[in-house]
Amino acid sequence: MKVGGASRVLLIEDDPAVREGLELALSRHGHRVRAVESGEEGLERLRAELPDVVVLDLMLPGMDGFEVCRRIRAAREVPIIMLTARGDDMDVVAGLEAGADDYVVKPVQPRVLEARIRAVLRRIGRDQAEVERHGDLTIDRASLVVTKNGEPVSLAPTELRLLLELSGTPGRVHSRQQLLESVWEHGYFGDSRLVDACVQRLRAKIEDDSAAPVYVQTVRGFGYRFGPV
């Protein structure tokens, strides 16, 4: 994760005009952009470039965006922002399930995309040096390492931020709106499905049984709460 300065953005977009336009706009905002036209090429570049963030078009020829998303997730915990060409609800849900951290609807305004990139890259505060224990889970806020039964858990940046946000005040209920503002830096009217999808992914990684969560609990009608364990 890049702290300040230029961040490396991997842009996977098949339409040459859109690709060039976004490359231009993101470069002007100080990012180092590597633009590729297919998912296969993107996966290749992922290993070579070690980008800080991936901007991924869902409608791709060949391997589709969802599959690319899953493969990127399997390889690295890099933040993924998807571009949904249709603003289609099904696409959004499928993309979030495939592991995307956030999404932007096309035609995208560069400043909106830029804000989302900044949000996913935002440095996570390391002010608390304590290692917290919650049942089988330990959260080291200094090194940003989470372990379960002593084994390190690999969390994507957004998942980590969500976990840190929730576990910072165990037992307190966070509404989806609050989480969208604090973790995703969306406004009040962000898409609450972002939170739900991220909670699902987080549970799959830290809970013994995702269907009966202990750490990240749903408070029906209000939002989510960490513990009490």
Binding site: D15, A17, V18, E20, G21, L22, L24, A25, R28, L83, A85, R86, G87, D88, D89, V105, K106, P107, V108, Q109, P110, R111, R176, Q177, G187, Y188, F189, D191, S192, R193, D196, T218, R220, G221, F222
Partner: protein
């Protein structure tokens, strides 16, 4: 209503016809039969009286006393009647008549039976009769003068009047039986006529009923509604015509629907196709905007124009895509429990309107709805009010048992009355002169679709004291989309 009316009219006509016929036939027959029965009884009685009178001659005295009169009366009442005799104010006495001779049915003679009209003709020498009802029984009273035959063939009045009384009870009974039969026959005919009318009306009304039901179904949108065609009468013709018309209508509507679906799909496709080039344009519009200040004057203005119009075009295409998603039914709600007052405040805050708008937002009003969509509605209403109305713009929240109401009102001239029914139409412009840049023309249409997706509604009226009032009504629990949110 008209169905009942037709049935009632037919029934009434049948019944009337039957009653008139029955009354005419039985009435005429009754009157004739009654007259002939009475006439015959009367003739027989008069004949008998005459015969007995002749048998009385010769009289023993020309100036009889009461005993003689009683004698005469007794002779006259020999059979089938009782009798009274008068002579110059004297009369025969009842008690002198022997009981057994008088038939039991005949009432005892009484001067009261003899009406004043009967006496003068009898006194004048004529035989006269009259039917009267005496103490509830019909009787025939026959009056005759007693004549004295002079030698030489002359007759003269003896001054004695004899009245015989005959009972008409048997005749009355026959007539009564006749009347009963007339009534019975008439009644049976009436019942028969009513049954016949019911059968006939059912035969006529069933097709009419079916036709009515099919027409209603057709009106309610069931274009497959048809009626069975029976027989070859006029009603069958009507049914056939109805079926043909319905089939034609169905064909036209299907055609129109197909055309409309095509048109909508076309709009959706065009919008999607526009999206990709627009994405490229939008990506560089910011660059142009930021560089505009550095460019030579003309190029700079051109750059700003391109940038601004790209933004507008993006808005239009986004709105088109949004509305085509409503049309194709793929729009769904992402429901969340929210504090409605907070939602309104957030809408105003994120657009920098907090200072420009007065609010009445009671705390603690929660509802389960899609905050993004409600934000779209509110932003549109408040944006419109700020653009077209005069300040103050007021947003008022009210909570009911199962609804929340948000009212957005301005204090401008209000919406033109002719435009009022159309403000939610797509691309409707209140005036031809309205500037294009004020919006896509889809804003209010999308707002209403969003409200309806929540099973709510959005309406507009002009306030009596000026200004337009948009009222958004939403259920406190919007219907869950399939799958439901956790």
């Amino acid at each position: 209503m008209s169905r009942l009316g037709l049935r009632a009219r037919l029934l009434f006509a049948f019944a009337l016809l039957c009653v008139v016929t029955a009354v005419a036939v039985s009435g005429v027959m009754y009157v004739h039969a009654r007259n002939s029965i009475l006439q015959r009884a009367q003739d027989a009685a008069v004949e008998a009286t005459r015969g007995r009178l002749e048998a009385l001659f010769p009289l023993r005295t020309a100036t009889p006393g009461p005993a003689d009169l009683a004698e005469i009366a007794r002779a006259m009442s020999a059979e089938g009647g009782s009798a009274l005799a008068f002579y110059q104010g004297m009369r025969s006495l009842d008690e002198e008549q022997p009981g057994p001779l008088r038939p039991p049915r005949v009432p005892p003679p009484d001067p009261g039976m003899i009406s004043p009209e009967l006496r003068p003709p009898v006194a004048a020498g004529e035989t006269a009769w009259q039917r009267v009802v005496w103490r509830g029984e019909p009787v025939l009273v026959i009056g005759a003068p007693l004549m004295i035959a002079e030698p030489g063939g002359w007759v003269r009045m003896s001054g004695i009047e004899v009245y015989t009384v005959h009972s008409l009870v048997p005749e009355e009974r026959s007539i009564h039986v006749l009347a009963v039969w007339a009534w019975l026959t008439g009644g049976a005919a009436l019942v028969f006529a009513v049954v016949l009318a019911l059968v006939a009306t059912r035969g006529v009304l069933r097709p009419v009923h079916e036709l009515g039901r099919a027409a209603r179904a057709l009106g309610e949108g069931d274009l497959r509604a048809r009626v069975p065609v029976r027989g070859t009468d006029e009603l069958a013709d009507v049914a056939r015509t109805f079926n043909d018309t319905a089939a034609e209508l169905e064909r036209h509507v299907e055609q129109l629907r197909a055309m409309e679906a095509d048109a909508r799909r076309f709009v959706a496709d065009v919008s999607h196709e526009l999206r990709t080039p627009l994405a490229a344009l939008a990506a560089v519009a910011d660059v142009l905007e930021e560089e505009a200040a550095e460019l030579p004057e003309h190029a700079g203005r051109a750059a700003r124009l391109v940038s601004q119009e790209t933004l507008n075009l993006t808005g239009l295409v986004n709105d088109l895509i949004e509305i085509s998603r409503f049309d194709s039914g793929v729009a769904t709600l992402a429901l969340n429990d929210v504090d409605v007052a907070e939602l309104v405040r957030a809408t105003l805050r994120t657009r920098g309107w907090t200072e420009k708008v007065e609010t009445e937002l009671p705390p603690g009003v929660t509802a389960r709805l899609d905050p993004r969509r409600v934000d779209v509605i509110l932003a549109n209403l408040v944006g419109n009010a700020l653009r077209h109305g005069d300040p103050p713009v007021v947003v008022r929240l009210a909570a009911g048992e199962d609804r929340v109401t948000v009212e957005v009102r301005d204090h401008g001239p209000g919406v033109d009355e002719t435009a009022l029914p159309h403000v939610f139409d797509r691309f409707y412009k209140a005036s031809a002169a309205r500037a294009r840049s004020e919006g896509s023309g889809l804003g209010l249409a999308i707002a209403r679709e969003n409200a309806r997706l929540h099973a709510g509604d959005l309406t507009v009226v002009n306030a009596p004291d000026g200004g337009a009032v948009f009222t958004l009504r939403l259920p406190r629990r919007a219907p869950e989309p399939d799958g439901g949110a956790a």
